[in-house]
């Protein structure tokens, strides 16, 4: 049974759209569920604070679901896209876009739900610091969205750049690899950022005077946690914009697809690990403000070591792209 090019494009766009929204909803639902679960605990501890807890939960959830709204936008674009120069390669770019956005929204959705939940618990513990907690939660949640924004940028490039002049083999693999590299590596960074933001809300509730130190440590920790997603973005851009020589051998395509898979999976662990290091530092800065500088240094050293595995993954991806 033979299919024409348009059928392949439709098939890829529909599957890509389904993946974008289906996977994109997973993270936000888990994040929102976590926030609500923590709000339950908060209300159980102090039902009189229900108004403030609800307010914090409402605002937190509105921000937390941004990642899945990005996924929704990409899904709609994929379902109704009308490529200017349809070719067989368009099918792989559209499928790659869907994969990229769907996977890329998971980590941010889960991660941004964590500060929301911790803020609800913190408000009950320290009602006077409700304003500081909500502001900190919003900053933390907003930073958690960065990997999802990177994923949306890559998905938009994959949808709108015209690859019709590029050779089908091995460019099809490079475009799917680009989607996988960005989408998978965003998972760890999104979740890791959430750990740091959650710990900062907990810390401010414990010691409201430490808010400035805690927020600074959180932002530095989150920034380093985003690095694996930036590596993923870099490999995606190389895969999307490097001109690949035409080659019908399977190995050339697999090298490019492998580069995307390598960086994507290689970015998950370091993103989460960096977030854990930041979480620990932020938590202890709140308890021991006088040693904030040392705690931040230890956090950065720990994150640098945790980061090394993402660097190995990036090196192997670059070897797969440029050497093999």
């Amino acid at each position: 049974m033979a299919y024409d090019v348009q059928t392949w494009i439709n098939l890829a766009a529909y599957v890509g759209g389904g993946l974008a929204m289906g996977l994109g909803a997973v993270g936000a639902a888990i994040g929102e569920g976590y926030t609500a679960a923590q709000a339950n605990e908060a209300l159980g501890q102090n039902p009189e604070m229900s108004g403030d807890v609800f307010k914090s939960m409402l605002v937190g959830q509105a921000i937390a679901e941004s990642a899945s709204i990005f996924a929704l936008v990409i899904a709609i674009l994929l379902l109704f896209v009308n490529p200017s120069a349809p070719s067989a390669i368009t099918a792989s770019s559209l499928f790659g876009a869907g994969l990229c956005m769907g996977l890329g929204a998971i980590g941010s959705g889960v991660g941004s739900g964590i500060p929301g939940g911790q803020a609800c618990l913190g408000i009950v513990r320290q009602p006077a610091a409700a304003g500081k907690l909500t502001t900190n939660m919003l900053i933390g949640s907003a930073v958690c969205q960065t990997p999802a924004i990177f994923a949306m940028v890559v998905a938009l490039v994959l949808i709108f750049i015209d690859y019709s002049n590029a050779p089908l083999f091995p460019t099809w693999a490079a475009l799917i690899g680009a989607g996988l590299s960005m989408g998978l590596s965003a998972i760890g960074s999104g979740m890791g950022g959430g750990f740091a933001a959650g710990a900062s809300c907990e810390g401010i509730a414990r010691q409201p005077e430490s808010a400035a130190n805690v927020t600074t440590t959180m932002l530095v920790g989150q920034a380093v946690s985003q690095t694996p997603a930036i590596f993923g973005l870099l490999i995606s851009f190389v895969l999307m914009f490097k001109s690949h020589e035409a080659s019908t051998t399977l190995s050339a395509s697999m090298a490019l697809l492998g580069a995307g898979i390598c960086m994507g999976f290689g970015g998950i662990g370091p993103g989460i690990g960096n977030g854990m290091a930041a979480e620990g530092a932020v938590r202890w800065v709140a308890r021991n403000m006088s040693h904030a500088g040392e705690l931040m240094r230890i956090m950065l050293v720990g994150q640098a070591v945790s980061q090394s595995t993402a660097i190995y993954a990036m090196v192997i991806s670059l070897v797969l792209i440029f050497v093999l």
Partner: protein, 130 residues
Amino acid sequence: MIESVRETQKKYCSRAIIIAIFAGLFLIAGDYRPIGKGLVLGTLFSVVNFVLIGETLPLRLGKIKSKTLAIALGSIIFRYALLVVPLILAVKMEQLNFAATVCGIFMVQMMIIVDHFKTAITSTFRTIIK
């Protein structure tokens, strides 16, 4: 409890709508009709989505974790089915700009972030002046 949620909704929704209407009017007057219309339409649905988040909040509380998760997922699917409407309209109709509609969909979130950043900056300045 619900009053406090309603107050928050009223505050951010009214700001979002007012800004969208004024920006929309300026854009329409400046002959950027599709952008203005898209922004207002997206903002309207952003407001409806935010109101629905608030209305479904009580349903999620007082339940076990797995049930909370199921309700959260159901709520997302329902609200997203609603958010799809302006996006499809923007894709299908030339009178609506897609990018502006997407900006409108994030208008309430933008109002929340701007409001809290403004408060944080103001309180920092006050502390410095003191």
